[in-house]
Symmetry: D2
Subunit: 342 residues, 4 copies
């Protein structure tokens, strides 16, 4: 529970910014004071439902507002590190959407700024807060499956984003698989040492023409000796396919897909059940709420956040290694954090 | 959506009253003004979280308040009809928890009062608003299973209530199976004409000593020619078991249980999955929210409620016929509504 | 294992007779010597695959053959008791298809003959030998579910037999539900004391015109205090629906349907799995083999058969009580065996 | 159906040889004449149940017997190619267990001999004949999933073999994963062009000391552009884990594990179902029968076998490429067949 009011500013009111605002409204002791977006004209109606006080085109109105305790960075990725540095300097706690940036150097710069300022920083790996994945994390950590041998993650979107989006997204690894890289680290409790990628543009060749892929098998070698694999697709026509299997010396724990209902329909055509939930908002709605609750509790109780800047850096580095593997056709080592920072 | 503010009073702040209050807080344009309960001393802390203005021992403070548009009757069953009549006279819209009363006559009296007053009246058969049962209702209605032949309902509580509660509950039929009687009518779209009960007190013989049963098989004959069966138990140690099967000439639709997670754990001991959700609040949380939203929308748009006084009367009559069948050891016809009311 | 050769005669080479012959071929030390059927003309090709020595129109050729140790009665029901009596007198062990007869008196007559002769007699309740039902029997017997409270059996054929067949079948209870009555006794380990039937002809009104029903809910009261229900349909378009649930004080054991494959197909239309196996021969093939193996082992080792004449009598009596309940609209007590026989 | 008697000789009466003999006994028109094994002393009792005429230590007794039409090679891998060449020269049809050999050259030699002789040759990739995998093959071939994008195979043994066995087995790829390599080619209908392996000895470090691994993730790149992954373990404590997923542009088809029963047990501890079948003989029993039936039908009707010498060669080559990848830590191209043979 959050005991004392926390005043919040939201930077970026796209899909994910709006999602956070809508969730924050229902958390007690959270006051959304200001929302900024470079385009505000179309936001009026929605803004009126938020209970926020100010809508601005300039996020500096948030950074410079001494009353604001914490900010949410939901703007495009290429703006993240600049905002992080400014906000840290202004002493704001920061919740930042993934990925932190497209550049390891810029990310480390921002990390340094956050460390110096001593503010809380949480990265938006919402899937850690999903009850299914949390449960498997717990099963692995308590060694109910013994030692982890194989970790398998299936992560497929229901439909590819627009080609425009893909062009500016940083590519499949940094935009989409980054969640899976974090999940691999989270569930295994180990760093990923090496990746190897088989990738292709099978969903839409135009994605390939943009230099990206839409289908991938990513082999993982963990520091603790276990191995793993992620498979990604930009298009699972049957829904948002989010599964995971943690296999070990004493058993296995599997996350199956969530569905809209538990209704089974039998006819001459066979037994039919619901597809996996189609929208990520629907699938991870509870997780989106839980992640921000934990962020505010960390602020309120001055505790460590459960998904840190380091988690953001490492997921990003795995994504970069994956890109390098795809380009070179070879396995690539992931740069470890302790080798870089003093 | 509710366009204009609706002011609400809550009569009875036991478990179900509190549940409604907690849900109402998150519905926009609903203002909870007054909460009454015969015992208010222990309610202070909770009341402070409700945002309501007044806490009173006397529900007349609600009935007589001209600002209040709608009331929720969550007090013990034996107080329902009196409150209904007073509230109707005062022109309040009424949401009433099940059962309406223990007496058909008193229920009809209250019904008459509501009809004369022309206020909205909704009975709290929350399961109608569950997404699983709604989906099967739709499948049946659209004849995807062809003509309904057999309707089967399994409805088992995780643990029996206290003997004290049982003594004053009106018994298994009126207290517990009444939801299933309503579900039978809802899914089939037909009245139940005849019931036959096999009942026993197998969970706890003391329940039998109180003249009640804890385990039942209730055969149903529907007016539309199809047949059905409900099985009830006061104790399913593995959780709140809420299933349904609608079997027809072209197929079958089944509702399976909801679970906390979709995690499957394999070990030498077998494949293990979650039990059905244990608490009814957890299982039907979304349904509790949806039923009150529809109530307020019916008020707001001056539409028919989706779960009416007549529905309450008929479920109660089936319960009474079931009791008579248990006592007599014979099948019993259910009194139809059109034979009684002019 | 059967140590010494057992010579077998088969009376009746319809569908079930052929099934047994085909299974017997693969059991070592079993020699099928003679097969009789009133119509033999069309049987030539099949007979040549059986390895049997003689094909005859007259079953007396089997009864009077001193070399034959055991007979299988697979002829129409109305011939059973006469054949049983003759075979018993001739000292043959008897495997008899269900039901024994349409008349309790004739059945008891035949029972007396078998008892006097001291031959083995097994009734063909094949489902007892299904690995799923056996497993639940074991779970119930070892009290893994604690005390049995509710037993539920779903038993639905994929398609109704011809009207001709129905006319001479003895009706749904004696022809079809008799398996379920036996299963109720087998799983519960208790006699059925009382039955109540809700029945209808919803699949085909012509079945109703023949005085039979095609859809039924049969409530059961067991001697041990527990209760149960069977639901039957002559037509489950999605396959042969054979399920069972044994619910008790400490848990529940459920038999789900068997399917042809374990393949799951996901597309935009949902997740699709196989229907239940359609043919009873396919569904219970292993059980048909196991029941005759146990019959031969009982002969070979001079042990009790696992499915006795008494089991046949009692299932038949429950069927008769069910018919009486359907006709009278009232619950009916089942005649117990010990009250009748000295 | 096999119209004319086929006389068979069995070379090697270890576990798999016995399995084939036991299955052959029940296929009509198949006569097992001679069984050879280097150790025959302990085989007497079993031999007496086979109905075969001769038991010999010298497989030449089979090769040189003009009456014998077909042989089964079930002896150790290092004897295969020699026997194949001799048998081909003697005009025998050949059913050979996998792998053909440990050497590509020896395998090609034997292939040449078989081609010259024009005898039928079938390799024992039994899983192709499993009803589940066949069904997915059909779904893929008929493009019900559209174009194949990702193929995933999980193949885990319940327990590792003895270290002795592992020493002489040729290693995980040639001994165990070879089935999965064949399955990858079979389901995709495409050659595997490149493999990359992440492997480890996590089950038992002694397996690592023998130069083998017990856990592997094998990435696959197919000639048709799709990608895939196999995960192997020598020890899944919960049973023989045999699953597959074929994911494509229009959907996905998954093979789930087979289980002993369809019984579900619910208690306070959760919902429990059967583990996957533990023994490969149990899991693939039907497939072992079907593969030899198809072999005999190919002989009988002079048709192509459904699992050819080429299939054996290619699976072996993928295994060799996998070994090379493991040793080098790099992706390795698979040698294609058309580049080698004229």
């Amino acid at each position: 529970m959050v005991d004392k009011e926390i005043v919040v500013g939201i930077i970026g009111a796209g899909r994910i910014g709006k999602l956070h605002v809508d969730n924050l409204k229902n958390i007690s002791n959270i006051r959304i004071k200001t929302i900024s977006d470079v385009f505000t004209d179309h936001l009026g109606d929605w803004f009126n439902t938020t209970g926020a006080e100010n809508l601005t085109k300039d996020y500096q109105d948030i950074i410079s507002d001494p009353e604001i305790d914490a900010i949410f960075i939901c703007s495009p990725t290429n703006t993240h590190t600049e905002i992080i540095k400014e906000a840290a300097l202004a002493g704001k706690h920061i919740f930042c959407e993934k990925p932190i940036s497209f550049s390891d150097e810029e990310t480390l710069d921002a990390f340094e700024a956050v460390r110096k300022a001593g503010v809380k920083f949480q990265i938006g790996f919402n899937r850690r807060y999903d009850r299914n994945f949390s449960k498997v994390k717990d099963i692995v950590e308590t060694k109910q499956i013994g030692e982890l041998h194989i970790l398998k993650i299936t992560s497929r979107d229901p439909a590819p984003p627009s080609l425009d989006y893909i062009s500016s997204s940083g590519g499949l690894f940094v935009d989409m698989a980054i969640h899976d890289f974090d999940m691999a680290r989270y569930i295994s409790g180990s760093e990923v040492e090496e990746v190897f990628v088989q990738g292709a543009s099978l969903v839409n060749p135009e994605i390939g023409e943009l230099g990206d892929i839409d289908t991938a098998i990513i082999s993982l070698k963990f520091a603790n000796g276990s191995i793993g694999v992620i498979d990604n697709s930009r298009q699972a026509v049957y829904g948002y396919d989010q599964r995971l299997e943690a296999f070990g010396s004493k058993g296995s724990a599997n996350v199956k897909n969530e569905t809209e209902s538990r209704v089974e329909f039998l006819s001459e055509d066979g037994v039919k059940e619901d597809n996996p939930l189609y929208f990520f908002l629907e699938r991870y709605n509870d997780a989106y709420i839980k992640e921000v609750q934990e962020f505010f509790e960390a602020i309120s109780n001055n505790e460590e956040v459960s998904c840190s800047f380091e988690d953001g850096i490492m997921a990003q580095r795995i994504a970069m290694a994956a890109k390098e593997s795809l380009d070179s056709g070879k396995p690539v080592k992931v740069k470890m954090l302790d080798k870089i920072l003093k």
